[in-house]
Amino acid sequence: MKKLILAAAAVLALGTAAQAQETIRIATEGAYAPWNYVNEAGELAGYEIDLGNAICETAGLTCEFVSNDWDSIIPNLLAGNYDLIMAGMSITDERMETIDFTQNYFPPDPSKFVAMAGTGMDPENLEGKRVGVQGGTIQAAYAEENLASNNTIVSFTTADQAMADLAGGNLDTIIADGAYLEPVVAASGGAIEFVGEDIMIGNGVGAGIRKDETELKTKIDDALTALKADGTVDKLIAQYFEGRGPFYGE
């Protein structure tokens, strides 16, 4: 019943705002499982796809996902090719200079180092090592700042390409989001392991949005608040990130 009233209210709100008919485009990378990926059926899938659709349903918006390369995902948002980024993007001060973020839909998550098992990699004392990152990520910025002086930083356009190079022995270690690496390590059957201490960078993952879109931002934020309150967000996190959460429930 409550849902019905909500839906009715949403329809009413829709009727009054003419431009609400406009499709909201959400950009994602499609190569960052389990956040966003292309499934066997050839469709975009993942935590952010389900969450994005839930947000749009709650906010009464018509949404459409588009995929865009990670390295140009912010510029193309600013250029107006889409209205929202949901691509496992961490909220950082640096990014806040150019774009805005909604509230986070994944809490601050440690970044981790991985290496092939038995290589004895020690991230505390990296010297002369080849460190792989995905270009334009917070980990890339971290590595550039803290590790570049006596190591080689190799940046790739997708995280999967970096994993391929690690597995192929062309990298000594990779630093990336814990939530991206955990399923990989678990599924590798012991071939890939975590090394060293976790690093806390970033303020959680949120949806990127242009600074002048205050109206849309409010809508998305409200929808996220509602979805967090009714447990949808935690449910989706539990579904896609094994053993994580609940983060937003009481």
Binding site: R25, G30, A31, A33, P34, Y37, V38, N39, E40, A41, G42, E43, V66, S67, N68, D69, S72, N76, L78, A79, G80, N81, T158, D160, Q161, M163, A164, A167, G168, P183, V184, A187, S188, R210, K211, D212
Partner: protein, 270 residues
Amino acid sequence: MSEDLAFWLSYLTNGKHLTWYASFQFTIFAAIAGGTLAVIFGLLGAALKNSRFLPLRLVGSFYSSIVRGVPDVLFFLFFPLAFEQAVEWFMATQICTPEAIAAQSAAWPPCREANWFLGTPEYLVLASVSLGLVYGAFATNVIHGAMRSVPRGQIEAARAYGMSASQVLWRIQIRQMWVYALPGLSNVWMLIVKATSLLSLLQIADIVLWADRLGAPNFLPTVGLVHDDWRWRYYLVLFLFYILVTLLSEKVFGALMARMGRGILSEART
């Protein structure tokens, strides 16, 4: 054994692979549209270069030499961006109010209303025009040279018949120049075909992007078949695909040349 076969057959026909196969349409569209536009721009460029009016001649020469003087990929990236910005700038002069411009915080476009959404179809068209412009510059030279290879006697005879300048151009020069232009145009076509591999740089989910995505190692059973780095196999398929297209193109152009060459003195066919 047959189980294996069935497994691979179903793997290679899953939705992700079907999307890959379907994405060949972008490549083929870009090649055909780009090729057609290149011939059109080439004819235009050659007409400009042949013009009796000096500024037009300069425009023609400038176009063909500057575009060829920079890498194709640079122009290929630059043109869609520049065109988008030009359109947005024009829209801005028409619809932006001063308040809207003041309210705009991003560097571009001037105001929100002047934004032009670019999706895959738009990018594909822009990419094709881009290819057409770049390789039109090459075609300009080919066609310009071919027009001059048309025997003078033919043109003089046409004039003597009382044909107007445009009649001479269309009925004699352009009609006859194809024989001389075809070898060069076939070369330009091969270049265009190879340049279609760059589509992914314009956010088009083309065959190269899908080859990367399909071949990238996958660790998660929920995502699909778990496998390690298979990218080179997928690239090998593309490598062979392009060689096959080259082979076919050569055959087609060879047949065309033989056909076009009928009734023309054999020395023209070198």
